[in-house]
């Protein structure tokens, strides 16, 4: 007899209660994720060289550069968010507890926690504008490390992808992601699409799975650029291959000083912010 996802969940839930092993695993992994700043030296010996293993398998390392100089000029602009959420049928639930989001805006001091706490002299005009945030497609993604089913995994081109067929909704990955980049579908996501225009090329999700930005893998497969980048009329978003020294992203990073979020955690995000 075929075991359904939901039946499987029940069994897993039951055994987790009995064994408690899953919970201790979560605590352990979360511990590792948060302890990493203190372990930085231990880590750096083997693997901490930025995007060191870029050329890994495919010679491609997808990344995004957000130019906040251009983005913050467009107050209230949501073109990128709307495009992404339409293309991926991301449901709309206004209650923050049920909210599902792939790309959104957040306040400076939520986005750059370390810098804002360490440096009170960051100019006010920089702190004033909301920052665009999404999954960072980390080089060293803690969400992938803790996922018990390998539903979330890192592709050879660096994209941290989701296989919704395998997600059992345990939300270990949400606990592990230091950027809050993942959303859980508490409700049937189709309820959040009522009356909305749908993209019939892309599926929805079902209740009980985690979702997040996928760097538009389905569009990259067709030779297109991510929907948010395409939608930004002001050129604030640039997408490209970090492994290629001649790529646009590399040129931007060469010519500007860019920040990454929470660098002290050692996750090595692939989303870069040009601040000023």
């Amino acid at each position: 007899m075929e075991l359904k996802r939901r039946d499987f969940l029940k069994i897993v839930g039951g055994s987790a209660l009995i064994g408690g092993s899953a919970i201790s695993a979560l605590v352990e992994e979360a511990g590792i994720a948060h302890a990493s700043p203190h372990e930085e030296h231990g880590h750096s010996a083997e693997e901490d060289h930025g995007h060191g293993h870029i050329e890994e398998a495919s010679g491609i390392r997808w990344a995004m550069v957000v130019d906040m100089r251009k983005c913050s000029e467009q107050e209230g602009c949501r073109d990128c968010i709307n495009a992404c959420h339409y293309v991926h049928n991301v449901p709309n639930f206004p209650d923050p507890k049920e909210e599902v989001k792939w790309i959104w805006k957040d306040e400076y001091h939520h986005v750059f926690t370390d810098i804002s706490t360490l440096d009170p002299y960051v100019p006010e005009h920089i702190k004033r504008h909301p920052f665009l945030v999404l999954c960072n497609h980390c080089d060293n993604p803690p969400c992938v490390r803790v996922c018990p089913t390998k539903a979330t995994f890192k592709r050879p081109d660096g994209i941290v992808a989701m296989d919704y067929h395998r997600c059992i909704g345990c939300r270990f990955c949400m606990a592990a992601c230091p950027y809050g980049s993942r959303s859980f579908n508490w409700r049937d996501p189709r309820l959040g699409l009522k009356g909305r225009e749908l993209n019939y090329e892309f599926p929805t999700r079902m209740r009980g799975v985690v979702e997040k930005c996928n760097f538009c893998v389905e569009r990259l497969a067709q030779g297109k650029i991510p929907a948010c980048v395409e939608a930004c009329k002001h050129g604030a978003l640039t997408f490209g291959n970090l492994a290629d020294p001649n790529s646009e992203v590399r040129a931007l990073l060469r010519e500007n000083y860019a920040l990454r979020r929470k660098p002290q955690l050692g996750t090595k995000p692939s989303v870069f912010y040009i601040i000023a």
Partner: protein, 128 residues
């Protein structure tokens, strides 16, 4: 014993009603499903016989190939290349899910959860 006659009649009636579905359907099988293919003149990705017997196997292989290996092209036995996609390849042709997929799935009591996420424009009108 009082009213034993009534009790026995009552029991007989109860047993008759409770077992009604069994003896009523005796000797008769549920009618064979008759799936309707609406698209004409197009060939499926593999032969009819293969699809009939193994579409579920093919879809399983497809989903891992497309999503996990990032390989979204399938070469069929005729040497043609097909885009791997339930929603964009299969359902574009078999746009009448109710009369095609559902008829057999209902008959066989198989409830694939593909449709919890993948959708066809027509059916989505019911929930959107």
């Amino acid at each position: 014993m009082y009213d034993s006659g009534k009790v026995i009649i009552g029991l007989v009636i109860f047993v008759a009603i409770a077992t009604f579905p069994f003896w009523f359907g005796m000797g008769k099988a549920a009618p064979m499903p008759e799936p309707v293919i609406m698209t004409k003149g197009q060939k499926c990705v593999e032969s009819k016989d293969y699809m009939r017997a193994s579409h579920m196997y093919l879809l399983n292989v497809w989903r891992d190939q497309a999503l996990r290996d990032g390989n979204r092209v399938y070469e069929n036995k005729r040497g043609e290349k097909v885009t791997i996609s339930l929603q964009n390849t299969c359902m574009k042709c078999h746009s009448n899910k109710e009369k095609f997929c559902d008829r057999c799935h209902d008959y066989a009591e198989v409830k694939p959860y593909c449709w919890d996420c993948h959708f066809v424009p027509k059916e989505s009108k019911q929930w959107n």
